[in-house]
């Protein structure tokens, strides 16, 4: 069988298995009470421990975007549009996408590595012999925690990005603060923020499901764990970028005022 057909087949199989994992996770959430302690630990690990990464990403993205926007807007005397551009970009695109990519690198990789190690050391088989479904014990707390944490982290990144852009625009570039803020409020709608938070929620689910899937299907010892971790980060990152485009088209129509 030619290589490209094998790759295509393997891609379809992975997509099918991912869909089954999502269905099993939803069934588990509806029928079995998730363990509160595990959920809180995951929320702490994913939400609290990702703070520094997300804050630095949000702040420097807002700052560089403000500087670039100012350099271009200044040429056509539209300096006070700088913060509005930063705000709209951060709320609808950069906030959710960059936060998700950063969390994917930290959390998605950790999930794949942890579950992959459990898989190759027979801990997942041990879990199954102890009458415990791996989806109930391992996937559901991670999925719920990521879906809740990512919109909050995205909100935080957006806020710090806008504050940082204000500091750069008004403090360094001497833009008129009052007009810049007026434009920011005029062009940034609740729908824009809502769009970003919906995207973040979906990206959160994507990170945990792919991270857990790669870990649960890990093989071949330490080498396999390394491969699963790399594949998880690559697959999550590419999925986020592709899905983001379609979500933008869809949500722009649905949420259009």
């Amino acid at each position: 069988m030619p290589q490209f057909i094998r790759t295509f087949n393997s891609g379809l199989v992975q997509l099918g298995e991912l869909t089954l994992l999502v269905l099993e996770a939803f069934r588990s959430i509806l029928k079995h009470r998730p363990d509160g302690k595990d959920f809180l630990y995951q929320l702490y690990f994913i939400g609290v421990k990702s703070q520094s990464v997300v804050l630095i990403t949000g702040a420097f993205t807002g700052m560089v975007l403000a500087a670039q926007a100012y350099f271009q807007f200044h040429k056509v005397k539209m300096d006070t549009g700088t913060l509005a551009l930063v705000s709209v970009s951060m709320c609808s695109e950069l906030g959710p996408v960059l936060t998700a990519l950063m969390v994917a690198g930290r959390v998605g990789a950790a999930m794949a590595a942890e579950l992959g190690t459990m898989r190759v050391t027979e801990q997942i088989d041990a879990l199954r012999t102890l009458a415990t479904h791996p989806v109930d014990y391992l996937v559901v707390p991670r999925l719920m925690a990521t879906v809740i944490a990512l919109p909050l982290l995205t909100g935080e990144a957006i806020l710090i990005g806008i504050i940082s852009s204000y500091a750069v625009g008004v403090g360094l570039m001497n833009i008129d603060g009052a007009y810049a803020l007026k434009n920011l409020l005029y062009y940034s709608s609740a729908e824009t923020v809502f769009q970003g938070l919906i995207k973040a929620t979906i990206f959160g689910g994507l990170i945990s499901i792919i991270g857990c899937y790669k870990g649960l299907n890990c093989r071949d010892g330490a080498e396999g764990v390394g491969r699963a971790t790399t594949e998880a980060v690559v697959m999550i990152s590419i999925s986020i970028l592709i899905i983001n485009f379609f979500l933008t088209l869809f949500l722009s129509r649905v949420l259009a005022p």
Binding site: M118, E122, Q123, D125, A126, L127, L130, A131
Partner: protein
């Protein structure tokens, strides 16, 4: 209690089990032996539903295990306890949390009752005062003991042991074997031990099943196996390699 009928399993077109059939009565203590790679661990994983066969069936107390989905299997697996070759302790949990894992998830006992039960089984496996240790702080033999404590804490009907003495020194191996015999007698469980350790087989088994060429090659009491004149069985129990395999 356990009936295995014409079990076949291949991995990537490489056949491992080619029609294995046997049955184990309640309370029996059976040792499954065979050379490395002959499918012993694959067989024991079929008996608890961790692997599904290509064809054939496994019945536990008359209930068909083959073809059931993972959620249905969880209920049947509650009747089993299993000790893994690597002990497979959850390395993020303490010894106490490992042993109490299923009792806590079931939520049928109070914290005090669970604590008491955990202390009892850790006494049985001769590991008192290790409750707060992490698996990384334990030796290989201690890990196996904790694995056994985790397997017996909820009083299963059947205990499966996958290579319980592999990687352990002879003294620790002997103590694990004695533990298996004691647990089997005290808890009146059906025991199935997979091993290629001849001394362990002699100490633990009341009945021996030898796998070879993907089939049950021979079955009998330890005395019958050790006195067998079959060349394959004789070479295996005496640890003699096949001259044809040494011709490289």
């Amino acid at each position: 209690m356990i009936e295995v009928t014409n079990l076949k399993k291949s991995f990537e077109e490489h056949p491992v089990l080619e029609g294995v059939s046997f049955s184990i009565a309640k309370g029996d203590s059976v040792v499954i032996i065979g050379r490395s790679g002959c499918g012993k661990s694959v067989l024991i994983k079929h008996m608890i539903g961790l692997l599904m066969p290509d064809s054939g069936e496994v019945r536990i107390g008359g209930e068909l295990l083959t073809g059931k989905n993972e959620r249905e299997l969880l209920r049947i697996r509650r009747r089993f306890g299993m000790l893994f070759q690597s002990a497979a302790l959850f390395d993020s949990l303490t010894v106490e949390d490992n042993v109490a894992f299923l009792l806590r998830r079931e939520g049928k006992m109070t914290q005090g009752q669970i604590q008491k039960r955990v202390d009892e089984v850790l006494e049985v496996v001769e590991l008192p005062r290790t409750q707060k240790k992490k698996p990384s702080e334990l030796s290989g033999g201690m890990k196996k003991r904790v694995g056994l404590a985790r397997a017996i804490v909820y009083k299963p009907e059947i205990l499966l042991y996958d290579e319980p003495t592999t990687g352990l020194d002879p003294v620790v191996s002997d103590s694990i074997d004695q533990l298996i015999v004691r647990v089997s007698e005290q808890l009146h469980v059906t025991s199935v031990v997979v091993t290629h350790d001849i001394r362990s087989m002699r100490r633990v088994g009341k009945r021996i099943i030898m796998l070879a060429q993907g089939l049950v090659y021979v079955e009998g009491s330890p005395e019958e196996i050790f006195s067998s004149r079959d060349p394959l069985v004789h070479r295996f129990v005496n640890g003699i390699s096949d001259p044809k395999e040494n011709s490289f």
